[in-house]
Structure formats: C-alpha cells, structure tokens
C-alpha cells in the first residue's frame, strides 16, 4: 500500500470555484468559456492570476500555456493534462493536490469546459476543433472492432455492461428512473441549472424514447456548451482567504483492465472506480458512513447505479433498491447530485459536480443545501469506464 497517504490528505484546499452558464444555442468557442470560468474561480477565491503557478486544462480545448498567456500567469511551474475523458476533471484534483503537497506549485487552477452542444455528434455542422481533438486512448480499437457493428456512441459501448448488469442482477428500472427524476428535482433548486424550470414527471420519463436498452432519453446527460473551474492552494494559504476552506481529504483514479477495450475485461462490471474508491477513503481515513452527499458523474442514470455500488454504498446489484427505498434526494439517506448533475444541471465534464461539492461544504446552497454537510464525495467517470474520486471536507 501507499505509505505517504497522510501527506497528500489535507495538504490543500479548494478556495475558489467558478462556472459559466450552460448554453445550447449559437456556436461557442470552448476556450473562451474555460477562461471565463477560470477568472470567475480566481475572483471567488480573491486571488489574482499572478498567484497561480499550476494549471490543469482539459484535453483538446485549450492548453495550459494558452490559459497562462491569456490570463497573464507569468510563472507557470506545473502543467499536466489528464486523458480520462469524463473522469479527467476529478482525477486532475489528485494531480493538483500532489503538486501542492510536494511544493512543486502552491496555487493550482483546474479548469474544464467544452463545446458539448456545438460539437454534439448529431450537430448539422461540427466545428473543426472537434476533428483536431487528440485521439482518445481507445479510439483506434473502437473503430476497428466496435464501429463496424453499429456501436459508435458512448451509450452503445456502455450498453455492453449496462445490459449485462441488468440481466445478471435483475435490476429494477425504478432505480434509473429515480436517478433521473431526483436530478431534475435538484436542478429546480439550483441557479444556473440548465433545466431549472423544466420539471420532469414520471409519465414524461416513461414515455421518453429508449436510446439503447434500457437507457431512455431522460437517462442521458445534457449536451451543453459550458465551463467550470476550481482553484486549489495550500491549507496554510487557504486560511488567509475569505471563503471557508474546503479541504481535499483524499483522491484517487482507477482504470479497468484493459482500459482501452470494454469487451475483454475479466469482469466487465468492474469499473475504474471500484479500485479507486477504497484508496481514496483510505487516504482520507474516512468511511462512506462519514459522508453527507455524493456528486456522481451521471453521463447515464445506469452508470450512477454502478458507481454507487463501486463506492461501497450497496452490494453489487443493490443500488436501484437503495435509490428507491433509502432515497438520494435532499431528504434521502444519501443525497446524490444535489445540483441536478449532468442530467439536469448541464454537462460540465463533472467539474460542475466539484463546484457543487465546494458550495455545499461552504453551506452556501440555499434551498438546495444538505443541512450541516461536513464531508462530500465527487466521482468522475469517463472513456471506457475510467474512474476518479475526490473527498472534500470543511476545515
């Protein structure tokens, strides 16, 4: 086991968060949104760009060098890009914490964003930037072995394990339904949620088309143009800033094996989060029973169920029953995605989940507040099941 965990745990704090609105209209430049969110996070922290010396940007949309050039960050000492698709934003927190804990950098900007609507697969004209995106680690394999058989979309690849999961455990469809409906209810309490004013009923959900069995349209995340950012700094420095510091208590990333092919994994239902979650909790010296809320990467409702099990909330196959019986709303036994998630808040690469976790722990969420929240968990999920997790707590 890793023996230096305690050094990384509680070494740094999230001191500023920022996000743009979610857009679904005119084409946008993702780089511009990422810069906007970065400035908002720095303003929130009460820091100047000159204070930043580490940057972790998303793959493909803007480089750390460009962010530094645009913001006037003149002493960039640490930059890294995580290649885990939707798991990248939360995995980047671990990397930022390592940089701060080791003294490589003292204030790190983690900024994510994209043109998720502008460059959606069904867009009449996708921007050229989409074609310049770096190759995802699995891209060649997907083209060679999945695409000829009609599986080109993430939901079609994830369908391989969602279908097996539903078959093996006879999972109740009520689980995914409750994930979707609860997300929408939480969005109604959240300023900035794209679907804040669009309630979702059980009837609407059940009459929405199936995209890939058993995933319905309302189980699918929104495609939005947006960005969100968080600023982290050392725990000492955080004490001098005006917001209540939100401490990074633990974090980890995990990769299923082989990460570049879903089909040939010994157990297709083992995600990266299954290995990452225990390591993060060990680092934080906490258990799930210490946690007040979960912000779970919800590209699809069913992927939330799988992650709840990977986090250890229930045995394999038990998440749907938990969601239905115990509840994941603000009044449930484990509130999940209290901003509405990717399903109803918007698709901020999961960085909007991080922003929400920080706001909850600051006790700054108004009617959407998890009362008295002290510890929160954020997960990331991406590519073909890569996972990441971060545990935050109030100072």
């Amino acid at each position: 086991m890793i023996s230096h965990d305690t050094k990384l745990s509680a070494s740094c704090a999230a001191v500023g968060v920022g996000e743009t609105p979610h857009y679904r209209s005119d084409p946008v430049d993702a780089a511009q949104l990422i810069l906007e969110a970065s400035v908002a996070a720095l303003n929130d922290a009460g820091l100047s760009p000159k204070d930043v010396n580490g940057i972790l940007p998303p793959e493909g949309y803007i480089s750390s060098e460009e962010i530094a050039a645009q913001l006037g960050i003149d002493d960039l000492r640490y930059s890294a890009t995580i290649h885990m698709g939707g798991a990248s934003s939360v995995a980047a927190l671990q990397s930022a914490a390592m940089a701060i804990a080791t003294g490589v950098a003292d204030t790190v900007l983690v900024a994510f964003g994209w043109d998720g609507y502008t460059s959606r697969p069904t867009a009449p004209q996708r921007p050229q930037r989409a074609s310049r995106l770096p190759q995802r680690p699995f891209a060649e394999l997907m083209r060679n072995y999945y695409a000829p058989y009609g599986a080109r979309l993430a939901v079609q690849w994830y369908g391989f394990y969602i279908q097996r999961y539903m078959e093996l455990y006879d999972v109740s469809p009520e689980g995914a339904l409750q994930v979707a409906l609860t997300a929408r209810a939480h969005a109604s309490l959240t300023d900035g949620a794209y679907l804040k004013d669009k309630p979702l009923t059980r009837e609407q959900y059940l009459s929405s088309p199936v995209i890939v069995d058993p995933v319905r349209r309302y189980d699918c995340c929104l495609e939005t143009d947006c960005a969100a950012a968080v600023v982290l700094t050392s725990r000492e420095r955080a004490r001098d800033l005006h917001h209540h510091p939100i401490i990074f208590l633990g974090g980890a990333e995990g990769h299923p094996h082989p990460a570049d092919d879903i089909t040939n994994r010994p157990d297709m239902l083992q995600l990266g989060l299954h290995s990452a979650a225990p390591r993060a909790f060990q680092m934080a010296e906490l258990q799930l029973s210490d946690v007040d809320f979960l912000q779970v990467y919800d590209c699809y409702s069913h992927v939330v169920l799988l992650q709840l099990e990977a986090l250890g909330l229930t045995e394999a196959g038990g998440a749907a029953e938990f969601v239905v019986n115990e509840g994941i709303g603000l009044d449930g036994s484990m509130p999940v995605n209290t901003h509405g998630g990717l399903l109803s808040h918007g698709h901020g690469w999961g960085m909007n989940h991080v922003v929400e976790a920080v706001r909850q722990l600051r006790h700054d969420r108004g009617s959407g507040q998890v009362v008295g929240a002290q510890v929160g968990v954020v997960t990331g999920y991406g590519d073909l099941g890569d996972g990441s997790v971060a545990i935050f707590g109030r100072e």
Binding site: L141, Q156, E167, I211, D261
Partner: protein, 147 residues
C-alpha cells in the same frame, strides 16, 4: 427482430499493423484467428505487441474453434451511423469464444433469443480482402438448418 443480413454499407475500418493482420487473416481463411502466446499459451484479442498475461513478444496466430456463448449485448434504438438506420433496433453483441477471448459482432437469430450464456457459432463473412464481418449464429438454428 432478426438481422440475417448486415447493412450493405457497414463501416470498414482502415486498419493497419496487427489489426490489419487480424482482418486479412480472417478474410483470407474464412476463420477468426487470434493471438496465442508461445510462452504461456494465453489467447488474446484484440491483437497486441506483447502477451497481456506474461509480456512475451512471441505471439502466434491461431484459428479459433468457432464457438462460444453470448456475454452481453447493446441494443440500439438510435444510431448516428446512417448505414444502420434501416436496421433499427439492432443488437451489437459480445461473445466469449471457447478460447476465452471475446468478440463484437452481429447475432443472426431473433433479438428476443439473446440471453447471457446462449451458445453460438462464430462465423466470418469476408468482405473483400481487407475486412471480415463477424457473425454469431444460434447453434439450435444451425442444427435445424442442417437437419
């Protein structure tokens, strides 16, 4: 629904290296071939430079026995691939061969028959020289046809 013929314009990958070897062999021989490690006898797919069990670089291509069981599938009611639009809803199926490696392909039997563990034969349809389409045929269907 039953898909006995593939869409005419299925995407044919522009493979290179080991992936091209995989398709060239299958197309030429009419049989799926996979890598087997000379050192530890491990079978693996998709092809890689090293054995994923022991990191040996000594890998040979072996024809598989041609049978397996359904491991999972993805049933699409929506597609962005125009070649597949007329085939909706269609299943993209994962089968585990007797050798323990899994392949993605198309099931020729009724979609409603799909279940984990369903025994199937693994068949190759050569499309030109460079590509081979993988089919999974229900074993009971095959025996009916044969007799």
């Amino acid at each position: 629904m039953n898909l006995t013929e593939r869409p005419v314009d299925v995407y044919q990958p522009k493979s290179f290296g080991l992936d091209m070897d995989f398709y060239l062999r299958a197309a030429a021989s009419g049989q799926v071939h996979v890598q087997q490690c000379e050192t530890c006898a491990n079978f693996q797919h998709p092809p890689r430079f090293l054995c994923s069990a022991c990191a040996s670089k000594h890998l040979n291509w072996q024809a598989i026995q041609g049978a397996g069981t359904v491991y999972s599938w993805s049933l699409s009611h929506f597609t962005i691939d125009s070649a597949w639009t007329d085939s909706l809803p269609y299943a993209t199926v994962v089968v585990e061969s007797l050798e323990g490696v899994r392949f993605v392909g198309t099931f020729s039997g009724p979609q409603n028959d799909l279940t984990i563990g369903l025994p199937v034969n693994i068949r190759v349809e050569s499309i030109g020289k460079n590509f081979a389409y993988i089919w999974f045929d229900s074993i009971s269907e095959t025996s009916k046809e044969n007799g």
